[in-house]
């Protein structure tokens, strides 16, 4: 007889699967939320479960095939209560950051045999992690313990574990959609097939007739207000060029209409039945062409009022500035190097796609649970959009499965909120991986023309940049990325500098914030050019940089002498250069063979520790009756490790250990305000607010104990259990009694700001016959100030390096001649897998910042920034060929070596026909 139930983690479930349902959604509908959706296409492995002991990607397995079989999910891996050895190993090594891939990773590792352990690159090629760079995962597989156990004493500089670890490795951490909501409805979007079109009409009648369809939303339902999907402390940082649903679509993939239904299937069917009449408009994909006279204009009806620099020329934002006299500087140079560098379109590829659930609570308040880096800014945007007072909207995050800047954006919350406000129903909107690629945001592709000159002795005389970035159809973050023209330039002492920058609208998927904003693009050009200039002068590239970089007492001047609120709160660039120099001189990594060309290269990067125009954070910490503490912060944890660091900072101030501090976070209900987790602010802004809150509470506790005992507060000291007043302990539990709930509040407004430094070095072998680049040595030195948690900080560096190597060697978004993104799966957009990432030596400079919390600085975006130029410089050293465009794929490297000069990227320079 045909079996009618599935055994999941020891229990039989008889729910009949739908005919085309995959096992992944079947399991999640049963409440096994440890089974994640990363790609829904079998590429990432986040949904890995065991069926009769065999690991499979549950997104690919027809659910009915599990009938009569035994399914084990992460929740059932260790039925006895004790963690499975692999779960234990991932905890001990802290083999995760955001934790979204972890369940699938553990289920995969638990199924490896001995031979597979010897070849992890192959064994784990179907398990993607976007955060760690895989070193911590390798440690977990090898049984290395990285974490220290919490305990009393100094909490700074210790490898204390992430508080979310136990929930992450057991699959019980609750990410955005890992909740059960009664009466949940589903919103799906119809997206534009045209790069530029006016919508004449949308006929919803056939869609509305689909059983289960509850509502159809089109431009007719859109609030009239223009806004930007980008979220910043100051909303005026971004042009207001976007409507919730517009009657003009400006890129393939733009939202055209939404269908709400009681099932995803009905909502999808409704979308297919919408009849849209488009008037096709001419489109432009290249930013230089878009600025030329006669080009199609994307936003002809907008202008200065919407903060668009020059709508008639498609220029969203422009910057111009100079100091000194660059022409005189070039005239005084003995060597001048001039070249054009291009960086391509890449994607964040965080494993948790954008998603929201909105509903009305019992009081009628709009409650949005979302995968965001910016819950408070999203609340403000929703209030603006729907004309609601702040107290009628709550925005909160669960655990967030990666972001890298992509979730500094409102891409789902507005739609879910609209549907809930119109229907009163709880609404879920979950993006597919295809939607992530086609219709969210990307890094800004950029072209940088650079000219740089120096005297014979190596002294820079002039530096000139012209930056053209492609912001896509909308200008979200178009202005913010031009901070790239600051740090990449001001790190060099040079009397004559000039910068011109244009962020240009084209009919392509919008670009947005991505780890480092525009810095990686500009630094690729500057650091490649510095390398060439050193070569032209016969100088060692590190010595050349040492001669020209700013020192601890130098002013930081980019293209203006206007005062800024940035200062050198600590200076470790010299140490970073020395550390990388020394490591490369050790010359680790042997050549694979006589056919290979060997070379080495370095690059440096500076970054402001906080974004400009303010970044505000509020924190509150209270003593609990049991003598522990509850720390509330607004900033979100999305794998950046701030939860760990906030506890360490507060515990240090309060003389306690981190396990005594419970954390509430990323919820507009728990603190007054937080600008959000972007711009590397988790430690230096939110952490400073938490530190100050803890300091305020410490002072109050000491004052209270002093008053109670009559001892001078100066003679009182707080420890883990009591305030010791001249030897008399006043237990904390006593202080929290009697109706008094001692609490401290802290604030930070993100100014003044400091700078952090990163230097990367590579030794590579390049095979001229195949184009393969093999990384023999990868070394990174970071100046993060006082390193609060070396294990986590190293993880941030390694993850940034891996992500940057992906962009430098493999990843490329390809658009076809219609402007459609064709690389919309991980099969065709290759993010680094385990076997693609070398181990990187990570060194830290010994500094302590006078502005950051307890001496700490930011270290989350910046490790990305020097990697691509360091690699290109090493490949240049090996092959003699200067690559001015990325990525350095094997095919292009091989053909360029054969041609004796760089060939352009075949698939990424503009558009490419695709089968």
């Amino acid at each position: 007889m045909r079996p009618t139930s599935v055994e999941v983690n020891g229990t039989d479930f008889a729910a009949p699967p739908r005919p085309g349902q995959c096992l992944r959604t079947y399991l999640r509908e049963l409440g096994w939320y440890g089974v994640k959706k990363g790609c829904d296409a079998g590429d990432c492995g986040a949904c890995t479960v065991h069926v009769d002991g065999r690991p499979v990607h549950s997104c690919l397995l027809p659910a009915y095939r599990a009938l009569g079989h035994r399914v084990t999910t992460i929740e059932g891996l260790a039925p006895g209560g004790e963690p499975h050895p692999v779960q234990r190993a991932f905890l001990d090594a802290q083999g995760f950051q955001c934790g979204f891939c972890t369940a699938g990773m553990i289920m995969t590792v638990a199924a490896l045999d001995e031979a597979q352990h010897q070849d992890l690159g192959r064994a784990l090629k179907g398990s993607l992690c976007r955060c760690t760079g895989y070193r911590a995962i390798a440690d977990a597989v090898a049984g290395v313990t990285n974490v220290e156990q919490p305990g009393p004493g100094d909490q700074i500089g210790r490898n204390l574990p992430a508080p979310g670890g136990p929930a992450v490795v057991t699959g019980t951490a609750r990410f955005t959609l890992d909740v059960s909501v009664d009466g949940l409805t589903h919103l799906k979007l119809l997206r534009s097939p045209h790069a530029h079109a006016r919508i004449r009409s949308i006929d919803p009648s056939a869609a509305s007739a689909v059983p289960g369809v509850l509502a159809v939303f089109t431009y007719a339902d859109s609030p009239g207000r223009l806004y930007s999907t980008a979220r910043h402390e100051d909303p005026r940082d971004d042009p207001a060029d976007t409507r919730l649903f517009d009657d003009v679509v400006r890129f393939v993939g733009q939202r055209v209409a939404g269908v709400l239904a009681d099932s995803v299937a009905a909502a999808e069917e409704g979308c297919r039945r919408l009849v849209v009449d488009y008037e096709i408009l001419p489109a432009v994909f290249d930013p230089e062409q878009a600025m030329a006279p006669g080009a199609p204009i994307l936003h002809p009806d907008k202008g200065a009022e919407q903060r668009i620099a020059c709508a008639q020329r498609n220029i969203a934002v422009e910057v111009h500035g100079d100091v000194g006299d660059v022409e005189a500087g070039f005239a005084a140079a003995d060597a001048v190097y001039e070249h054009t560098f291009t960086t391509h379109r890449v994607q964040h590829a965080h494993l948790e796609t954008h998603a929201s659930i909105s509903r009305l609570d019992e009081t009628g308040r709009l409650d949005v649970r979302t995968s965001s880096q910016v819950p408070f800014l999203t609340r403000r945007a929703l209030c603006d959009l729907f004309d609601r007072p702040e107290q009628t909207v709550r925005v909160a995050c669960g655990r967030v499965g990666g972001g890298f800047g992509a979730k500094q954006e409102m891409l789902t919350e507005d739609l879910a909120a609209l549907a809930t406000l119109r229907t009163g129903r709880p609404v879920q909107l979950e993006f597919t991986r295809q939607e992530q690629f086609a219709a969210t945001t990307t890094r800004h592709p950029a072209t940088v023309q650079i000219k740089v000159g120096a005297r014979r002795d190596g002294t820079l005389t002039a530096l000139r940049l012209r930056v053209v970035s492609n912001t896509g159809a909308y200008g979200n973050h178009a202005a913010a990325i031009f901070h790239s023209c600051h740090e990449a330039v001001s790190v060099y002492r040079c009397p004559n500098k000039k910068v011109d920058g244009y962020a240009v609208y084209t009919n392509t998927v919008p670009a947005g914030a991505y780890r480092g904003y525009g810095l990686s693009q500009t630094i690729f050009a500057v650091e490649s050019a510095m390398d060439e200039l050193a070569r032209a002068l016969g100088l060692d590239p590190i010595a050349f940089r040492q001669r020209n970089v700013i020192g601890p007492d130098d002013p930081m001047i980019a293209h203006s002498t206007e005062p800024e609120d940035v200062e050198i709160g600590s200076y470790g660039l010299d140490q970073c250069l020395d550390l990388v120099d020394a490591a490369l001189r050790r010359g680790e990594g042997t050549s694979p063979g006589p056919d290979w060309l060997i070379g080495q290269g370095v690059a440096l990067a500076m970054i402001d520790t906080v974004p400009p125009h303010g970044h505000r954070s509020r924190a509150r910490i209270s003593l609990l009756p049991d003598g522990g503490y509850e720390l509330a912060v607004g900033t979100a944890e999305f794998g950046n490790g701030t939860s760990t660091v906030h506890r360490q900072l507060a515990a240090t101030v309060l003389g306690t250990s981190v396990d005594r501090i419970r954390l509430r976070q990323a919820d507009t209900d728990v603190v007054a305000y937080d600008t959000g987790a972007f711009g590397s602010t988790g430690i230096v802004v939110a952490g400073l607010a938490a530190t100050r809150a803890a300091q305020a509470l410490r002072d109050r506790l000491i004052a209270a104990a002093a008053a109670r005992t009559g001892v001078d507060p100066a003679a009182c000291e707080l420890d883990a259990d009591a305030v010791r007043c001249g030897g008399v302990p006043v237990p904390l539990a006593d202080l929290a009694q009697g109706g008094w709930a001692p609490a401290g509040e802290g604030a930070c407004d993100g100014s003044p700001r400091s700078v952090a430094f990163n230097v990367h070095g590579f030794r590579v072998a390049v095979h001229p016959g195949t184009g393969e680049i093999r990384i023999l040595q990868s070394v990174h030195a970071a100046d993060a100030g006082r390193v609060v948690n070396p294990m986590q900080c190293r993880g941030q560096v390694e993850g940034g390096v891996a992500q940057a190597l992906g962009a430098a060697m493999y990843e490329a978004m390809v658009l076809d001649e219609t402007g459609r993104v064709t690389t919309d799966t991980f099969r065709n957009y290759h993010v680094p897998a385990f076997g693609d990432v070398p181990r990187t030596e990570v060194h830290f400079a010994d500094t302590a910042d006078r502005l950051g919390p307890l001496g700490a600085k930011s270290m989350s975006e910046s490790p990305f920034n020097p990697v691509a130029p360091a690699l290109a410089n090493a490949v240049r050293d090996a092959t003699g060929i200067r690559f001015g465009a990325l990525p350095l794929t094997r095919d292009r490297v091989c053909l360029s070596i054969a041609a004796g000069a760089e060939l352009p990227p075949a698939h990424t320079a503009g558009v490419h026909p695709h089968e």
């Binding site: 179907g126 099969r827 794929t889 054969a898 089968e915």
Partner: protein, 272 residues
């Protein structure tokens, strides 16, 4: 992913069901491709595993691989010592972009029927002179060489309603000494070129796959010298036959193809 337009599944099909094939039907084998992309044009799945075919049958005439044999089953199959192609089979399994987890469901037949140029089961069965048995909707069957089965990217000889029943590898080919070369843009990525040389007494066949839109074979009585073989490959493969997608440019695929042809000649004893 969920295929929400599917309204029914035939879990235990018969040849009669095959005769009633209709638009909107899809054969389901492992499902590892079918469930990996939206399929809004489909209404019904016909589950080939419901036929209950024996995955692998080894006999004196060779090895019959059922279309529904998974890569994991093929990978794990012990081969007799006179069939020294075990390493080649395993290399081809590893050449699949999907990991060992995918092998647990992905099938040999599915890999052929998907007909992507880098499909490593296409390479394997073509290189070992496989013969495909195709069941026709009228209840009959026909045969076609594995090397002729795929006609281009996502295109093959199957007519609507036809299905791939099995691939038979002849004993003679299974006795071959083989050489395998593969490259992709990343260490474990999708193949941009996959070449196999198979030498048996009195014959040598070079099979070019992944770099070309369909398998290309060159046959000789003995292994040609490296330069001779590479030159012959270059003459045989017209530039438009090199595949162009994000996994490698045609010009590079050509260079890798010629390079591997030379290497295979050297490995199998071709004299300069």
């Amino acid at each position: 992913m969920d295929l929400n337009t599917i309204t029914s599944v035939i879990e235990a099909p018969t040849r009669t069901d095959q005769a009633r094939w209709q638009p909107g039907d899809a054969w389901l084998a492992g499902g590892t491709w079918l469930f990996s992309e939206p399929q809004p044009h489909l209404r019904r799945l016909v589950d080939l595993t419901g036929f209950g075919w024996e995955p692998l049958r080894a006999g004196e005439t060779g090895l019959e691989i059922a279309a529904t044999c998974t890569l994991a089953q093929l990978y794990a199959m012990p081969l007799p010592p006179h069939w020294p192609v075990g390493p080649l089979i395993r290399d081809c399994c590893h050449a699949l972009l999907g990991s060992f987890k995918i092998w647990n469901e992905a099938t040999v037949g599915g890999n052929l029927c998907l007909s992507l140029p880098p499909g490593p089961m296409i390479s394997l069965t073509a290189a070992l002179d496989g013969v495909c048995t195709i069941w026709t909707p009228d209840g009959g069957h026909r045969q076609v060489a594995a090397a002729e089965f795929v006609t281009g990217p996502r295109a093959n000889v199957l007519a609507p309603g036809e299905l791939l029943r099995s691939i038979s590898l002849p004993d003679r080919a299974l006795r071959a000494t083989t050489a395998f070369r593969q490259i992709s843009l990343s260490p474990h990525g999708r193949s941009a070129a996959l070449l196999i040389g198979a030498r048996t007494p009195g014959s040598f066949v070079l099979t070019v796959t992944a770099s070309t839109v369909r398998p290309i074979q060159l046959r000789y009585a003995a292994v040609p010298g490296p330069a001779e073989l590479a030159a012959a490959v270059d003459r045989t493969i017209d530039p438009p036959l090199y595949y162009d997608d994000v996994h490698g440019t045609p010009a590079w695929r050509r260079l890798m193809t010629l390079r591997f042809a030379e290497e295979i000649s050297r490995e199998l004893g071709g004299q300069p």
